[in-house]
Point group: C2
Chain length 113, copies 2
């Protein structure tokens, strides 16, 4: 039997894409600039991650205007929601495995924070 | 405030390295071949991930013999344990955020499995 980590999907698991999906899983469409700020990403890096997620059909990107200003909105697809939920399920099982290991934290001090 | 996902460390978060650390966090040294099998990795891929973790001082790799057969053992360092625990803490906060989003799963059927 393979470890739960082997069941993770790189497209979803990569930390910035995971962050994007986590934000979008709330349900509303979100502005490009909001994602940039929330994830402290450059526009180029964010664009690259969005392209990966669009290609996997996990998100939608829409371009339009708010008044006279161009805007890019991002939203999650049904498949994206499913992929995100699967990731959360695997993460839960990883955490459960950790909780099941007895005494692993007893031999040293906890780090600050 | 940036999203918790931005606080994840790529060295630890990458799914196979996360799996390696999760296995090693149990505390015992583990054989190379055990990790290969548990994570369904080729020897080359596993070696690459181990090198990344050694360079970050998160694991130790020891070579030796069991009887006449050469063996490679891998164990986690104190820094590795700390990094793994930090990752688990961030994952917990990601999962807590998900739990805090109301009604995000009510509009569609659950996927099988």
């Amino acid at each position: 039997m393979s470890h739960p980590a082997a069941a993770l999907d790189d497209v979803v698991h990569q930390r910035f894409r995971l962050g994007i999906l986590a934000i979008l899983a709330g349900g509303d469409r979100v502005e490009f600039s909001y994602l940039r700020e929330a994830l402290a990403l450059s526009a180029g890096n964010l664009s690259r991650h969005l392209t990966t997620l669009v290609q996997a059909q996990l998100i939608l990107v829409e371009k339009g205007y708010q008044g006279s200003r161009p805007r890019t909105w991002v939203s999650i697809t049904k498949a994206g929601r499913r992929a995100y939920r699967n990731e959360m399920t695997v993460l839960r099982s990883l955490l459960a495995l950790q909780d099941a290991v007895p005494g692993q934290d007893l031999d040293e001090d906890l780090p600050p924070g």
